[in-house]
């Protein structure tokens, strides 16, 4: 039974109307017809209520699906236009972009999970390289910064395409089976899916223009710390600068900007720790963290553990090294919404950078001695952030 109590009550009220008229000797007229109609409606609702509800849900899903398709098509268009503008290809790249959008990655087999991190790492690296090569082919005249921005743009378009296809799959399945439970599952997650799609769409524009996103707050903070000091490249798209910091020596690291890039923080931190033979007093990781509803954007929270997202390869590598040399790890996160994290950077998040630096300063003053060497890593996509 899927009737709403209120409509139930109304139906009963109306269906009682002819009884009153008959009791009081009135001649019914319109009112008795309305009563009869509501009676009929009552029984229709009993037998067909669920079906009607399914249809209404399908309508709901359909309108979201239309919107999703629009977002996806816009994303594809933006990607192609940006590639054309920056790379000046000599041939039509539309079909190549379409092929890229259907690109998939198969994760490593996990039946015997020993050594799976290395396998996953390898697959991800091959994937990144493949995408980068693809972009290079499509946009031969791109410089390195643009190349990374294009790659990120394409990746956002890929995510949108995938979302659209999955939602469409369940929509058609629901329509075919007319099963309330198939449709309901889709309808329940749809608000979250749409939020994600809108975030990806915002990300796509940011990437195509090379604008910083919410996730770039980690590199922004690291950049603020290392600005004015010479930065040199370490393993795979990361940079490190030696900065005097409150009487300590801070090795400040971030992904190389201003191209869209998250680098390989795991390998980079590993390399720097080994370079210093493990003589690191503390590792501080600064990252954008997901906020819960009700928390304010740009709030700063402190904790311990490796603050880094992604598939976990980097966190694994960092933790391995930390355990080997018994290095304490602290994390400072800047709270933001999932939507804010990939959308162009908000003012609140930008303003939080200075506050976060103060928190790092306090942390370092309290937990390390003068003359120590500390490692500070600003995790995130360094799009639109130089050094």
């Amino acid at each position: 039974m899927t009737l709403i109590p209120i409509s139930d009550a109304i139906t009963l009220l109306v269906s009682n109307a002819p009884i009153y008229t008959n009791q009081l000797g009135g001649d019914g007229g319109w009112t008795s017809y309305i009563g009869l109609f509501s009676m009929a409606l009552f029984f229709v609702m009993i037998f067909y209520g669920q079906r009607i509800q399914s249809r209404m849900m399908i309508r709901d899903v359909e309108s979201s699906l239309h919107k999703l398709r629009f977002i996806k098509d816009e994303g594809r268009k933006t990607a192609i236009e940006t590639l054309k503008e920056a790379g000046k290809p000599t041939v039509d790249i539309s079909s190549r972009v379409d092929r890229c959008l259907d690109y998939f990655t198969i994760g490593p087999q996990s039946m015997d999970p020993a050594g799976i991190v290395a396998k996953l790492d390898h697959i991800l690296e091959v994937r990144d390289q493949r995408l980068l090569d693809e972009v290079r082919l499509m946009a031969p005249q791109c410089d390195d910064v643009q190349l990374h921005n294009m790659e990120n743009t394409l990746e956002a378009a890929m995510a949108l395409t995938y979302l659209y296809k999955v939602v469409r799959h369940y929509y058609i399945q629901g329509k075919k089976t007319m099963s309330l439970y198939v449709i309901m599952q889709l309808q329940m997650v749809l608000p979250l899916v749409m939020k994600e799609a809108e975030a990806f769409s915002a990300a796509l524009t940011a990437f195509s223009f090379g604008q910083p996103i919410g996730d770039s707050v980690g590199p922004l903070i690291a950049g603020k710390l290392m600005h004015g000091y010479e930065a040199h490249k370490v393993y795979k798209d990361c940079v490190v600068a030696t900065v005097p910091f409150e009487g300590r020596t801070a090795l400040v690291m971030k992904a190389e900007g201003p191209g869209g890039n998250v680098g390989k923080p795991g390998d980079a931190i590993e390399a720097v720790i080994e370079e210093n033979e493990g003589k690191i007093a503390m590792l501080v990781m600064i990252d954008a963290g997901l906020k819960l509803e009700g928390e304010t954007v740009g709030d700063i929270a402190e904790g311990v553990g490796s603050a880094i997202g992604g598939p976990g390869v980097d966190a694994f590598k960092i933790e391995e090294k930390l355990v080997k040399y018994k290095i304490p790890i602290n994390a400072v996160i800047i709270k933001e919404d999932i939507g804010d994290a990939v959308a162009p950077m908000r003012k609140e998040i930008h303003d939080a950078a200075d506050k976060a630096i103060e928190r790092v300063r306090e942390l370092v003053l309290e937990r390390t001695k003068e003359g120590d060497t500390i490692l500070i890593f600003g995790v995130g996509n360094s799009i639109g952030i130089g050094q």
């Binding site: 109304i10 009112t31 201003p258 908000r346 930008h350």
Partner: protein
């Protein structure tokens, strides 16, 4: 262009469907209100008239609210997003200027020499978007 037109038409279709339902409810509620008047004056049935008035008024407000909401949704969709701003600062004299984001801007990018003190190069210190929180704030 064609894609956006398609989107437009599908959106219109949906709102037409909704409009159809709303109009039916609106018509029914008016009929109910009329029959209330009929029941009260002609049939002399105060209780029935009372019930009918309640139902009619309920349906009328409901359809009114739905109409109002769709109107407001359409209005919010038209609102365009705030622009991305670039903040430029001179480290020497502290002059701070804000302009719209241009392709190629990035934080820590050095720009032309400052016009005021003509000594040091200006630098981009921030690229961000100012979004006004429009949603309801649940202060608990």
């Amino acid at each position: 262009m064609t894609q956006s037109n398609q989107q437009q038409s599908s959106a219109n279709k949906i709102s037409l469907y909704l409009m159809f339902i709303v109009l039916i409810v609106l018509g029914l509620s008016i009929v109910t209100l009329f029959s209330a008047v009929y029941a009260y004056y002609i049939l002399d049935e105060a209780i029935v008239a009372g019930f009918l008035i309640i139902i009619g008024a309920f349906a009328l407000t409901l359809s009114g609210v739905v109409l109002y909401q769709t109107r407001r949704n359409a209005a919010t969709l038209k609102n365009d997003a705030p622009k991305m701003m670039t903040i430029i600062e001179c480290k020497n004299c502290g002059t701070k200027t804000t302009r719209e984001f241009q392709r190629g801007d990035f934080v820590f990018k050095e720009l032309d020499v400052c016009q005021k003190c003509s000594e040091q190069k200006q630098m981009i210190t921030g690229v961000y978007k100012e979004i006004k929180e429009t949603g309801k704030i649940y202060a608990i």
